[in-house]
């Protein structure tokens, strides 16, 4: 029988075993009462960041609402891998309508709950970056603007993975996708202006906006819990690496999410009513190369020749995030 070494502690993190913590500080996932809302047996790929993120997020939302939760789901990987009927991984009332309307369906649920007097039941909408930042953007903005009582969670894997890795408005510059091929004088995705939906959400001045990654699932749990303590429109944008789409090893999902934050490319912060209230500081800053190199979608930046200029532009983006959110100095409040 083959055996392998088990690492109990990851180096370079604050991770500790739950056994060492008080009960109240332990993660939702460590408790016997966790609901397994997205149950095992679903068909996500090995190392799927979205499955990981959704499990932590929805279980945390369940605990925060005393299990009185309804979810609306956009079309996408999460929807497809979780509900190949007659199998479903969802242990909660769950509805999938269309690709672009999850936020509006969630509004309908929230409004119906209010009119029916079922005020103890809360609503979560969820979708990928395509369903959120592109096709579902109108409905999302409408839900924000009306301040409907919905928590919308975007699991951002930076492309349309369900349809075979096509570019979305969340795809980073220079990244290879099936529609931003590595050919021509500027291989990969274009350097556009970007579409920062957390900041757009903040511009709606909704009560709560946060970003998170699957590298810090305790932080994700805490943010979902906080979001559920607030009424009105809330938005959490979770970076969820996709081994298939990013061309990365399944066991590197969490590592890549951490490198995205430690490089400054994906700032992790919270905002209330349009104002940034907290951010996770970078403990050990890394150059963007460290994040880019393990991903085949960026391989053309390193071979056959090093694309220093492109990498410098990406580094400049990271530096801008670091300045904007003050990611290098000061204490994180949490």
């Amino acid at each position: 029988m083959r055996s392998s070494h088990v690492k109990f502690y990851q180096t370079g993190t604050f991770t500790v075993g739950n056994r060492l913590l008080n009960d109240s500080d332990r993660s939702v996932q460590s408790t016997m009462e966790r609901t397994n809302s997205l149950n095992s047996g679903h068909r996500a790929c090995q190392g799927c960041g979205e499955a990981l993120g959704a499990r932590y997020a929805i279980d945390a939302a369940m605990r925060a609402t005393d299990n009185q939760l309804i979810a609306a789901n956009a079309t996408g990987c999460l929807e497809v891998f979780s509900t190949p009927y007659p199998e479903t991984s969802w242990q909660i009332p769950w509805i999938h309508s269309l690709f672009g309307n999850a936020a509006a369906v969630a509004t309908g649920i929230a409004v119906a709950l209010r009119v029916k007097g079922r005020t103890g039941t809360r609503v979560v909408a969820q979708g990928g970056d395509g369903g959120t930042t592109d096709i579902g953007f109108g409905c999302l903005s409408g839900m924000f603007e009306r301040n409907d009582d919905v928590l919308y969670i975007c699991y951002d894997n930076e492309a349309y993975m369900n349809t075979g890795v096509q570019r979305s408005s969340a795809t980073p510059p220079a990244a290879r996708t099936a529609t931003t091929q590595v050919v021509g004088p500027q291989p990969g995705n274009v350097f556009g202006q970007g579409k920062n939906v957390p900041r757009i959400a903040m511009a709606h001045e909704i009560p709560y906006v946060a970003t998170a990654t699957v590298a810090d699932v305790r932080d994700l749990e805490a943010k979902v819990t906080k979001a559920m303590s607030i009424h009105g429109a809330r938005y959490i944008h979770v970076l969820v690496p996709c081994p298939l789409g990013w061309g990365a090893a399944p066991h590197d999902t969490v590592k890549l999410a951490r490198l995205a934050t430690e490089s400054g490319l994906f700032p992790v912060f919270e905002a209330e009513h349009g104002e940034v209230t907290d951010r996770s500081t970078i403990r050990r800053q890394v150059a963007v190369e460290e994040y880019l190199k393990p991903q085949r979608r960026f391989a053309h930046l390193f071979k056959p020749t090093l694309q220093s200029e492109v990498i410098a532009r990406l580094q400049a983006q990271a530096d801008r995030n670091i300045r904007r959110y003050n990611l290098l100095s000061g204490e994180t409040h949490r």
């Binding site: 969802w90 999938h96 309307n101 509006a104 309908g108 649920i109 119906a112 209010r114």
Partner: protein, 417 residues
């Protein structure tokens, strides 16, 4: 209670009497007055236990209704024209999920060229979307059909469109009998959903279905509409008994029993059709009509029984299947398959062009003598199209068709009608 009232207001009052719980609104002419009225009623507290949601698009309007309906609330919205197309994906979705939403269509043309006036191209474009479609002939019928639509939708768990001709009905002030709350309460039972999103009994709704079951799911959608062929007349009979007037049902004949020529039409144009029939009857022309109230499900058997004694059938259509001709005509021909009865199509009233008694009478007289083509465009300006066709054939860069024609016609204000 008899009221002299705008059609949209009448529809809004009927919807209010049905005790809606969630109303989603997005403005589009000519439906807008309906949701404006409803919004005011909700805000003033005149509709108890109801939420009015102003949304950012028609796509959202129906999506909010989908979420609300799946959570067990009685949901309503209204739209028209481009709005119906913009929500098309959700239209199919609502019926696929079996959600009994009632939606008013203020029938209007579809662009380009953009046109706000009445025809029925919009609802016709959604005829295969799995919704029941009922067409109102008068504002009284518009009111009554909404009251019938709610129990119809909820009993079968199928959404219903009530189609009301834009402007002609929605903006017309006429006498309408608005029933009392007690009358409507006695007719419309509380909503008992077939499925509901509830943490106490979690269900997954909207799962992916592959080739192994898709045909069966679709068949059952068809089956439910076939059931509606029975339920629609039942509801109309019960309505007549309770409210003392006949409204709705599948089809309605007018002087059809001994007619050689029978006219088939949907919606408000039946008023003009009946007037013309009366005039022609005075001239001993054996002509009658059948108004199709339920276009989906299509009452093929009932229609055949009413049409099969005629020598010819004329379908007056306020829509156009570009490349073939009539939309309703195709279904009427199917209903009459094997009878050998010729079916002629007259495309009329597109984009709000008035269907005048003169034009219709002239056409029907010719049709009665079998002197019409298979497809006729009523009141078509041949001089205008010939000039434009000539331009198209002689100049490669001939410019935009609609704008070319308008430039030639000059001011249009005095040409409507």
């Amino acid at each position: 209670m008899l009221k002299q009232i705008e059609g949209s207001r009448a529809v809004a009052e009927a919807v209010a009497l049905c005790r809606p719980e969630v109303i989603c609104a997005y403005p589009i002419t000519p439906q807008t007055h309906i949701v404006e009225n409803l919004g005011e009623m909700v805000k003033a507290g005149d509709i108890k236990g109801c939420e009015f949601v102003n949304v950012e698009s028609e796509f959202a309007a129906l999506s909010v209704a989908i979420g609300a309906s799946a959570t067990g609330a009685r949901a309503y919205t209204a739209t028209a024209s481009q709005g119906l197309l913009f929500m098309a994906e959700a239209v199919y979705n609502a019926s696929g999920l079996g959600l009994p939403i009632v939606m008013t269509i203020g029938n209007r043309a579809i662009g380009a060229p953009i046109n706000i006036w009445n025809d029925q191209q919009d609802s016709m474009s959604m005829r295969d979307a799995g919704w029941i479609q009922l067409y109102a002939e008068t504002n009284q019928e518009a009111v009554d059909l909404h009251i019938q639509a709610v129990p119809l939708a909820e009993e079968l768990s199928v959404p219903v469109m009530v189609c009301v001709d834009g402007f002609i009905l929605t903006h017309a002030y006429e006498r309408v009998d608005i029933p009392t709350q007690a009358q409507v309460d006695a007719y419309v039972p509380p909503y008992e959903p077939r499925q509901i999103l509830d943490p106490a009994e979690p269900v997954t709704i909207g799962a992916m279905v592959g080739p192994e079951a898709f045909t069966e799911v679709r068949y059952l959608a068809h089956y439910r509409q076939m059931q509606a062929l029975g339920l629609i007349p039942e509801l109309a009979d019960a309505f007549a008994e309770q409210f003392g007037r006949h409204s709705g049902g599948l089809v309605r004949g007018y002087r059809q029993d001994d007619a050689d020529t029978l006219v088939v039409a949907l919606g408000s144009v039946n008023g003009t059709v009946k007037d013309v029939i009366d005039q022609l009857r005075e001239r001993d022309v054996a002509i009658g009509s059948v108004s199709v109230i339920s276009f989906r499900p299509f009452p093929a058997k009932r229609l055949r029984a009413m049409l099969e004694h005629a020598s010819r059938v004329i379908v007056v259509e306020k829509s156009l299947a570009v490349g073939i001709g009539g939309i309703v005509s195709t279904d009427v021909r199917m209903a009459l398959a094997g009878t050998g009865i010729p079916v002629h199509t007259v495309i009329a009233g597109l984009g709000g062009r008035a269907i005048t008694q003169d034009a219709l009478r002239d056409y029907l007289l010719r049709a009665h003598r079998d002197a019409v083509e298979r497809v006729t465009f009523l009141d078509l300006r041949h001089d205008v199209i010939h000039r434009e066709i000539e331009r198209l054939e002689t100049q490669r860069r001939s410019g935009p068709v609609a704008e070319n024609i308008l430039r030639e016609l000059g001011s249009v204000a005095d040409r409507i009608g």
